[in-house]
């Protein structure tokens, strides 16, 4: 292969790359005798994962019930329909429910009222920012195109900044909902929960949507046991390096001929190619024990409602078998943690204001967002349960993966966040609205940092922003940081 020293990237920040460190899984031999720490005295690696679902916990006009908010607090809390999968999968004693969360809102029907810190505008669908970054929503103006802006880094990127340089992947960002399923408007930022701070500029960390692509990237450096397969893999890696090397070299001449705006676009493209080239140089993990290459998932499920192709107009409006996609992405995230390929992840199940068709879940053809306004509570509970079931599946997989003296779950802080709660609408004054950010719930699982497991906790009034749960989870993996305009963890989450 053509050998060439990789030049430094043009931009100061190299995206998605964990430096040139060689990644190794946590082998038994590296642990101390008790299996509780690394033999060198270092702590066991800690893992951080944010999951997100674009659901509210009530439907318009229907009062709050105990579907997602347990009727009892403490351990052994009640399991309504929304939480039932925790019982079904036997992980209730590992998952803590934090209820009573609220994102403060502008309340007056005037755009002059200040937006509270870490809060939202009266207009509901601009509130991505407080959820993903703990910053307040941008003020609504009459020329607003309703594109929610994000003004701070998301917590996975705050954590990645602190611990991401120790693994092949600084962080992984996946999304199961394959498409916006909505025409005529640009919903930028509603499809992304991960944002990084690049020298003061907040940039989207675009999630990988194709499970096939995610698979390919994750198992890039895995060397198969079979010598023939291993040789084929090595040849393929070598081919990729050589191809990218030529692509890379050809760009130099082109950049010089472009105007500044185009050059900037291409430089970003170029930086990503360089980052990929450098990932190809990283040695794969030691495969063995729990760390194994998963079976090839094959082609991705067809995209629902795509515009006409050559042969067919449409497969299934609004649904691209997100069920299969999400399961695959959960498996990939689990293996990424198991093999210590990354310690930080974000997994978006469904988008903010999701237009995914929930027919396969509820038997009624609604977009998820439409369901929240026009459907009824039992249907929403089924949709919540669908999300919770996949979160419970992740918990189950982590628990069933031995690591050291315990399980992989012991070193994790996993969260399931969602878009809205249920309560008064400041938009139209109705008592029970899906556009409320009161009575929100976040699920927490994992034993990192002594997180309390299996309890229902009502957030204390001085720390009841979903961001306070986020801060606690970050603290659990050893990262002490504010979350945008939110500060302080929830003491009840520990101990």
């Amino acid at each position: 292969m053509v050998s060439r020293k990789l030049a430094l990237p043009r931009r100061t920040f190299l995206r998605g790359l964990g430096g040139a460190a060689v990644a190794l899984p946590t082998l038994e031999i590296m642990l101390d005798d008790a299996g509780e720490a690394l033999a060198g005295g270092g702590a066991m690696p800690l893992r951080y994962l944010v999951c997100f679902g674009g659901f509210s916990i009530i439907t318009d006009g229907d009062p709050l019930d105990n579907s997602y908010i347990p009727a009892t607090t403490g351990p052994g809390y009640t399991l309504g329909t929304g939480l039932a999968p925790l019982g079904d999968r036997g992980v209730q004693d590992l998952v803590t429910v934090v209820s009573g969360l609220s994102i403060p809102s502008q309340t007056a029907q005037s755009e002059n009222e200040p937006i509270p810190p870490a809060g939202r505008t009266v207009h509901f669908h601009a509130h991505v920012n407080p959820v993903v970054s703990g910053m307040r929503s941008a003020p609504w103006t009459s020329n607003d195109t309703h594109i929610p802006t994000v003004t701070g880094p998301s917590s996975d990127q705050i954590v990645a900044e602190a611990i991401g340089d120790r693994t092949s992947f600084r962080s992984l960002a996946y999304r199961a909902q394959a498409l916006l399923y909505n025409t005529g408007t640009w919903h930028m930022n509603r499809d992304t929960i991960s944002y990084r701070d690049n020298d003061g500029e907040i940039e989207r960390v675009v999630p990988v949507v194709s499970p096939r692509q995610a698979y390919d990237a994750l198992f890039l450096g895995f060397v198969p046991d079979d010598p023939q397969e291993a040789a084929a893999k090595e040849l393929e890696l070598d081919k990729r390096r050589s191809v990218l090397d030529l692509v890379d070299r050809r760009m130099d001449g082109l950049l010089d001929r472009l105007g500044s705006a185009d050059r900037q676009r291409l430089e970003q493209h170029y930086d990503e190619i360089r980052a990929l080239e450098m990932r190809l140089e990283i040695e794969g993990p030691e495969v063995g024990g729990e760390c194994q290459q998963l079976p090839d998932p094959g082609s991705d499920p067809p995209l629902g409602g795509e515009p006409p192709s050559e042969e067919a107009y449409d497969v299934n409006a609004g649904y691209s078998d997100e069920q299969s996609r999400l399961l695959l992405l959960c498996d990939l995230m689990h293996m990424a943690f198991t093999c210590d390929l990354t310690r930080v992840g974000s997994l978006m199940f469904t988008m903010f204001q999701s237009f995914m068709n929930v027919n396969p879940i509820t038997g009624h053809a609604y977009g998820l967002h439409d369901l929240s306004h026009n459907g009824d509570l039992p249907e929403m509970a089924d949709v919540i349960a669908w999300h919770v079931d996949h979160f419970a599946y992740l918990v189950e997989r982590m628990r069933d993966t031995p690591e050291g003296a315990g399980s992989l779950l012991d070193s994790c802080a996993l969260m399931m966040m969602n878009e809205a709660g249920g309560g008064v609408s400041y938009e139209n004054g109705s008592a029970w609205s899906a556009h409320s950010t009161d009575n929100m719930v976040t699920l927490v699982a994992g034993g990192a940092g002594g997180l309390r497991q299996g309890h229902h906790i009502v957030a204390p009034s001085n720390a009841n922003h979903p961001g306070n749960v986020v801060i606690s989870a970050m603290e659990a993996v050893g990262v002490n940081s504010n979350f945008g305009e939110v500060s302080g963890s929830i003491p009840e989450l520990f101990g």
């Binding site: 998605g16 318009d60 029907q109 755009e111 509901f124 669908h125 009459s142 020329n143 195109t145 309703h146 498409l179 916006l180 025409t183 005529g184 640009w186 930028m188 989207r204 675009v206 990988v208 194709s210 096939r212 692509q213 390919d216 040849l235 081919k239 990729r240 050589s242 191809v243 990218l244 030529l246 692509v247 050809r250 082109l254 105007g259 705006a261 185009d262 676009r265 291409l266 970003q268 493209h269 170029y270 930086d271 990503e272 980052a275 990929l276 515009p307 050559e310 067919a312 107009y313 449409d314 409006a317 609604y366 967002h369 439409d370 306004h373 026009n374 609408s425 938009e427 139209n428 556009h435």
Partner: protein
């Protein structure tokens, strides 16, 4: 200028109204005051041999990436690969309403990784299919390291892939890569694989790079090369990569002049790809590119509309407005039942008769657009028509309005009464008068375009179907709405603006107005044909230049 009459109809982002007045002319901007006169700077036509004229005004443009749709078409036309893999692997292109706005394109890790996997897979599929492989390679290698054959392939295929001829030095670079691996693997086609993978990840394949030649005395203005023009033509008219013939014309310098490009466009419009492209343009513009129905219904509705577009634009070469005045529609028994029309034998053109339907506005495809969940929303329908079909932006609702939900008035039993609050409350009425009356004129057609006379499940709530286009006139149903549009030339300047937006992959700006204006004039004052308008667009000096961002 006669053309200035259209500018008043155009409402651009920059000119968008910030409040709603009961007056369409509220959208008029100060367009006439900036001295724009429209049209090219020199009046003379295209005497061959003359320096091509430059546009008097031209908005800036940046580099565009192939959309997922264009990527898949391009693979198909380059390699005969019909698997359309790009749609799965490349980041989604949002419909704004068009899927090609370069402002939404960003280089990200998933993009780069996706492109790499796509290139590898495409090369493998080709090598696994010997007949297709041999056709693409074009020569039979005499041995593992047949440099002449490899070189010939790179020269010919490289020109197709990068849409311009490769220099000897560039070819050498690909030959070196290919030969090295052909030799190592003792397989000529591994060399082909390597070259393909590199070409399909090249920046000039992924992006439509336009550089051009600086125009003397016009800083920031560049005349596009013939190859860059060939690329503009093919992605506009075919949604795909230029053919060998088109590249030959570029190589011979035969696209420099307006009449040459116009003639080329006429030839390209004969290609089936042009029909698909024009169909898709209308689907995105009018909003029915993604329908929320089961596949069978979606297929039937889309086929109906495609048939009308093909008939009007291609088969009859009729004025574009015939789309809105057609008195027949192409349906099968299933759709006949859907519409309550006479059942045809197989699929046939069926007369609308006195059904109150006429043209594309009465198609189920269009009537499915902008419905609320499970129920029509007169506000959303009206907003969509006002903004997309009339090019008049309506300001968003004030922050204290929950626009996700229809008005709920406990006492009102019928939908029409519930919506009455929009007209009664002063602060609502201004904007809603621009939307609701249009939607109410179509209220007798449900979310799939079926006719109805009363609210669902409420026979006592008769739907009048009475609607109005503010300051233009009253109507009832899609036929009368279409007639109002056509009689008042409302749609022509807007579709011209939308077409130009689609052609550039960005929103129209003030400096684009002279050309947009001319295009609209073609529909109202010229022969009225859409293909003629496309020819005018590609012939215009603005099409042959770029202004740097």
């Amino acid at each position: 200028m006669r053309s200035s009459q259209f500018i008043g109809m155009l409402a651009l982002g920059a000119l968008a109204v910030t409040g709603c007045r009961d007056d369409v002319n509220a959208t008029t901007g100060g367009t006439d005051t900036d001295g724009s006169t429209g049209g090219p700077s020199s009046g003379g036509a295209d005497e061959t041999g003359e320096t091509p004229e430059t546009p008097e005004t031209l908005g800036p443009i940046g580099m565009r990436r192939l959309t997922r749709y264009e990527y898949d078409n391009t693979l198909r036309d380059l390699l005969g690969d019909t698997t359309r893999p790009g749609s799965q692997m490349l980041p989604e292109d949002p419909f704004t309403p068009f899927d090609n706005e370069y402002g939404t394109q960003e280089a990200s890790q998933p993009l780069i990784e996706g492109l790499e996997v796509l290139a590898r897979d495409a090369a493998r599929r080709l090598l696994d299919d010997p007949p297709r492989r041999d056709q693409t390679v074009g020569c039979t290698p005499s041995g593992t390291t047949d440099e002449a054959c490899l070189r010939e392939f790179i020269g010919r295929f490289g020109r197709r892939a990068l849409r311009r001829p490769l220099s000897t030095e560039e070819i050498d670079g690909y030959v070196a890569l290919g030969l090295e691996y052909a030799q190592r693997q003792s397989d000529f086609y591994v060399g082909i694989e390597m070259v393909l993978r590199a070409l399909l990840q090249d920046a000039e394949f992924i992006y439509r790079v336009e550089i051009g030649t600086p125009v003397d005395g016009e800083p920031g203005l560049f005349a596009l090369s013939n190859f860059e023009l060939a690329t503009r033509l093919s992605y506009l008219l075919w949604g795909s990569t230029p053919s060998d013939e088109l590249l030959d014309a570029a190589e011979a310098g035969e696209l420099s002049h307006a009449e040459q490009r116009q003639a080329m466009a006429q030839a390209m419009l004969q290609d089936p790809r042009a029909r698909v492209q024009i169909d898709r343009f209308h689907a995105m513009w009018m909003g029915y590119a993604q329908l929320p129905h089961p596949p069978e219904l979606t297929n039937a509705l889309r086929s109906e509309t495609t048939a009308l577009l093909e008939r009007v634009i291609f088969d009859e070469a009729a004025p574009w407005t015939d789309l809105f005045t057609a008195t027949e529609t192409f349906i099968d028994a299933t759709l006949a039942e859907h519409y309550d029309l006479p059942t045809p034998d197989g699929s046939q053109w069926v007369s609308y008769g006195s059904s109150g339907r006429q043209g594309i506005l009465s198609h189920g495809s269009f009537l499915s657009v902008a419905a609320g969940p499970g129920e029509t929303s007169p506000t959303r329908r009206g907003k969509w028509i006002r903004e997309q079909l009339m090019c008049q932006p309506v300001p968003p609702p004030p922050p204290n309005v929950d626009a996700d939900n229809p008005p709920t008035e406990e006492d009102a039993e019928c939908k029409e009464d519930r919506y009455a609050i929009h007209a009664e409350v002063g602060s609502c009425a201004g904007c809603h008068s621009l939307m609701d009356p249009i939607g109410f004129g179509l209220e007798r057609y449900d979310t799939q375009g079926r006719f109805r006379t009363h609210d669902e499940g409420a026979p006592q709530c008769t739907i009048s179907g009475d609607g109005a286009l503010t300051s233009i006139g009253a109507f009832n149903g899609p036929a009368e709405l279409a007639n109002l549009f056509v009689d008042n030339t409302v749609l022509e300047p807007c579709v011209a603006q939308q077409l130009y937006r689609f052609a550039l992959g960005r929103e129209v700006v003030q400096d684009d107005l002279p050309l947009v204006n001319e295009l609209g004039m073609q529909l109202t004052e010229g022969d009225g044909r859409f293909d003629t308008m496309l020819g005018m667009l590609v012939a215009h000096p603005a099409f042959a230049h770029r202004r740097e961002e």
